[in-house]
């Protein structure tokens, strides 16, 4: 896994970070893009112009308060119509937490999220296994690698019908699984999935909170030294170079 910025030729890759009313983690996502060596570009939900970005991150939070369903109202934002079009054309899109919920509501990814089986908000450092290291957002990891990133949600229980779950497993589209403890009752311990093409990835845990030593989860090098989330952002830069 690469833990630092890629070479300087990637520095002009523009990674959009889309903000909705109630988004919390857009600044952390932008910071993660910058630390990986890309250029973060702020996008606004009401604006259908994606400002020539090469990829988009839908960060976490509580868009529109999640009053109707998590992600339900955001899905119809003008910017989302542009994101759906771009994703169908192959542009890398990453949905984190609330962003994952928006991607399922927009039908870019299958299944949905309901309230955690134990009903409590959970916030912890979560170990995940990388089940697919070939997507646009995971190619700098290795298959089977364990990574630790923060997890914080109340509506994080991934559900889908058995046929859809079998299809996801059969096509290698389960990208991350919870290890050690399933924190929300997600079917088959699924923490993140991808679309058929591998350019759209969604997950409940928060890689953007584990990108800089001193501010992340505890790691092998000591307290708060974990930077396992940085690989998402170096992966997308690598995939843009190859494209």
């Amino acid at each position: 896994m690469s833990a630092g910025p890629l070479d300087a030729t990637l520095n002009d890759a523009r990674i959009g970070v889309l903000t909705f009313p109630g988004t919390l983690d857009d600044r952390d996502a932008a910071r993660a893009v910058r630390l990986a060596g890309g250029e973060p570009v702020a996008l606004w939900h009401a604006d259908g112009d994606l400002r020539r970005v090469d990829a988009v991150v839908l960060p976490g939070g509580f868009s529109y308060g999640d009053y109707l369903r998590a992600g339900a109202i955001s899905r119809f934002a003008p910017a989302m119509a542009a994101v759906v079009d771009a994703a169908k054309g192959g542009m890398p899109v990453l949905g984190i937490c609330n962003g994952f919920q928006i991607l399922t509501e927009a039908h870019l990814l299958p299944g949905s999220m309901i309230k955690n089986d134990h009903l409590h908000f959970v916030c912890r450092e979560q170990v995940l296994s990388v089940e697919n290291a070939q997507t646009a957002w995971t190619n700098q990891y290795t298959q089977g690698q364990h990574i630790t990133v923060p997890l914080k949600n109340q509506d994080g229980q991934f559900v889908a019908d058995e046929h859809t779950l079998d299809e996801l497993e059969g096509e290698g589209r389960v990208v991350f699984r919870y290890q050690g403890w399933n924190p929300n009752g997600s079917r088959r311990d699924i923490a993140g999935i991808t679309n058929e093409r591998g350019n759209v990835v969604g997950l409940m845990p928060h890689p953007e909170h584990a990108v800089e030593a001193g501010f992340g989860p505890d790691g092998a090098d000591g307290v708060r030294s974990g930077t396992d989330g940085l690989g998402f952002f170096t992966s997308v830069l690598a995939s843009l170079v190859r494209a």
Binding site: L68, R69, A72, I73, F76, T104, E105, P110, G111, S112, I114, K115, N116, D117, H118, L119, Q157, V159, A160, D161, G185
Partner: protein, 86 residues
């Protein structure tokens, strides 16, 4: 003024954690006869005039697209609930 009610319930095969919490609380208040609770949503949509077939049709489409997520929920009822004053 007309009113359309839309009722949405979690699908039978989807666990309803909220209903489970409610059914756990009922016996503590002495309500021991209820063995299960499922919690859904009721929307009241208001319109200026009468609830015409077109209004009901629009309500059904709104129910399927925005008010419910067909992966986890069923629209169980869409009906005219306009209050009639004598």
């Amino acid at each position: 003024m007309g009113r359309v009610v839309v009722e949405v319930m979690p699908k039978p095969e989807i666990l309803d954690p909220q209903g489970k919490a409610v059914v756990g609380a009922l016996p503590r208040l002495g309500f021991t006869q209820f063995t299960g609770v499922r919690q859904g949503k009721r929307f009241e949509l208001e319109v200026e005039g009468d609830v015409t077939p077109e209004v009901l049709d629009a309500a059904r489409r709104a129910a399927e697209t925005l008010l419910s997520n067909p992966i986890i929920e069923d629209v169980v009822a869409v009906f005219d609930a306009t209050e009639v004053h004598a």
